[in-house]
């Protein structure tokens, strides 16, 4: 079966989920999975080319707060606020990435630069408490009666469709990038920047391109998450915690396969919820402990993630036995 056909069938199946009348809690988990998967897909588009960002949470936060403040303070509908928020996040991402790429900050140093940048955004959100509500968070204003559509405030079914479209958009971006020459250029850059430049690859501009796409998708995920929850706070939309959650999800699921980050999001969120329910209030701290241990195991023993397992099996079938080496 070809990939587009599989994807189409999957999408139709997922669109039918609300028709089955699932419980609210399940819908909540599924929507959260889709939005987390979108952020993870965006992250992995950079991550798989060696551009490991520990600051993607910042872009979720920038877009979410821009959108919410435009609605609360200027009455601008989130339908416009989201693209504007994404634009602001992309601009911030470019301002951070351009000097980093120009000065050839790579590998661990790039990870540290992004980590610091993510914290800066969280601190800024806390510091601007007159507008953002600081650590206490922010609630989008209730719309005038009958204007729920304008405020983008829907029930879970409505949000399921929005999240589904956004998630599918992320996958479309992945496939388009994968088929472009940029993907090969980025693979070359991630192996050897000098050699890539010597064969005519514009290293900085290729990296900037993928950064813009990656940041835009993460920003979209952030704004939609805030809009879905109808609550924003700096801890869950910026800073290290959320940034690492995105990274863990993408790595556990597998950042080299398009569906990997989605599998990762399903696992991390499923695990979080499952452990929370299993341990309940009996053993405070047990759930995050087991969660952390499992993530460490993933990193150590499955560096290509769960999707990597399928990938290897498919590859063995697709390629003939390698030529004998002498």
């Amino acid at each position: 079966m070809t990939a587009p056909l599989t994807a189409g069938l999957l999408l139709v199946a997922l669109a039918a989920v609300p028709l089955l009348g699932p419980p609210d809690y399940l819908m909540h988990v599924l929507i959260t999975v889709l939005l987390t998967a979108l952020a993870g897909t965006g992250w992995a588009m950079m991550g798989r080319y060696g551009l490991v960002s520990f600051g993607h949470g910042a872009f979720l936060g920038i877009a979410a707060y821009t959108m919410a403040l435009l609605w609360n303070e200027a009455g601008l509908t989130p339908w416009l606020g989201i693209p504007i928020g994404m634009g602001v996040a992309v601009l911030a991402g470019m301002l951070l990435a351009y000097p980093a790429f120009k000065l050839r900050v790579v590998g661990h140093y790039f990870a540290l630069v992004t980590l610091a940048a993510g914290e800066i955004v969280r601190i800024l959100i806390v510091a601007m408490r007159e507008h953002t509500g600081g650590s206490l968070g922010l609630t989008p204003a209730k719309p005038p009666p009958g204007a729920g559509w304008l405020a983008m405030q829907f029930d879970k079914t409505g949000f399921w469709y929005i999240a589904l479209i956004a998630w599918a958009l992320g996958l479309v971006c992945w496939f388009l990038l994968d088929r472009s020459m940029s993907s090969r250029a980025l693979a070359a850059i991630s192996e050897d920047e000098d050699a890539a430049a010597s064969i005519g690859i514009r290293v900085t501009s290729e990296k900037m391109k993928v950064t813009v796409i990656s940041v835009a998708l993460a920003a979209l995920a952030g704004a939609l998450t805030a809009q879905y929850r109808q609550y924003l706070n700096p801890e869950s939309l910026a800073g290290l915690g959320i940034s690492l959650q995105i990274v863990f999800g993408a790595i556990a699921g597998g950042m080299y396969a398009p569906i990997g980050p989605t599998i990762g999001a399903a696992i991390t969120i499923g695990l979080e919820e499952g452990l929370r329910i299993f341990f309940g209030t009996e053993l405070t701290g047990a759930a995050p402990l087991v969660y952390g241990l499992l993530l460490v195991m993933f990193m150590l023993f499955m560096p290509r993630g769960i999707a990597g397992l399928f990938e290897r099996r498919a590859q063995r079938r697709a390629t003939p036995a390698p030529a004998a080496t002498e």
């Binding site: 090969r184 000098d194 050699a195 010597s198 064969i199 005519g200 690859i201 002498e326």
Partner: protein, 239 residues
């Protein structure tokens, strides 16, 4: 004939406080194969890095086909017709042979010619065709060198710059690599080779420059240099 000639005029260059080249001048005419030989630390690699735009000369001129190379960024060189096979190959080890060739045809001008040039590279190096799905990093040194040369040919260059193609290879493999260079230049490609293996390179090139501590110590036709008693004593182990 101004088209594909490379000329370097009184170039001074170095790294930080360290100066590696002191007024080096050389010239490569279209269709010619020219060697730059000399011991370690003579400035051979620095010279190639200046040509390919990876470092800027402090003074002097580098011109190719009438264009001042000191003013253009490194990634535009393939579009101008300059292909650089760097020291130690610098292949993309986790890409397959064919993917390495594909990125070699990355520039907009080269992309439409990918298939034709790939097939041409496969006729030049049948071994590469056998290994096209193999990861480049898993091949032997000689095969990697051929792959690196193949990748450079993918941009359809007018001039090929080879940096120490024999480095780290067994003598028999060195022979094979130089045979390939000879075949490539028979197709009319201009070649500039930087090498420590003086005996081998003088058999392939028309002319050569001897570089010593950043200065051109001698230059001339290969046969003349190979017969020169000083060169023979210093580089060829003869008397």
């Amino acid at each position: 004939m101004e088209q594909a000639s490379l000329s370097i005029d009184a170039v001074h260059a170095g790294y930080g406080d360290f100066q590696a080249l002191f007024g080096v001048s050389l010239r490569v005419d279209p269709g010619e194969a020219v060697g730059v030989v000399g011991p370690n630390g003579a400035g051979k690699t620095t010279l190639l890095r200046v040509i390919s735009g990876l470092i800027r000369p402090r003074s002097g001129n580098v011109r190719f086909a009438g264009q001042d190379l000191a003013k253009v960024p490194a990634h535009t060189l393939p579009a101008l017709g300059i292909a650089h096979v760097p020291e130690n190959r610098r292949l993309f080890p986790h890409l397959t042979v064919e993917e390495n060739l594909r990125v070699g045809a990355f520039t907009a001008a080269a992309r439409p010619h990918f298939e034709a040039r790939r097939d041409h590279v496969y006729t030049l190096f049948p071994r590469m065709k056998e290994r096209r799905h193999q990861l480049a990093g898993t091949m032997s040194g000689g095969e990697q060198q051929m792959c690196a040369i193949g990748r450079a040919l993918m941009s359809g260059p007018k001039i090929l710059l080879l940096d120490e193609p024999s480095a780290g290879l067994a003598p028999l493999v060195v022979q094979q690599v130089f045979d390939l260079v000879r075949r490539i230049r028979q197709e009319g490609l201009t070649v500039l080779i930087v090498e420590q293996n003086v005996a081998q390179v003088l058999r392939v090139v028309d002319r050569a420059y001897v570089l010593e501590t950043g200065r051109v110590a001698a230059e001339g036709a290969s046969a003349a240099l190979a017969a020169d008693p000083v060169i023979r004593r210093s580089y060829l182990g003869g008397h």
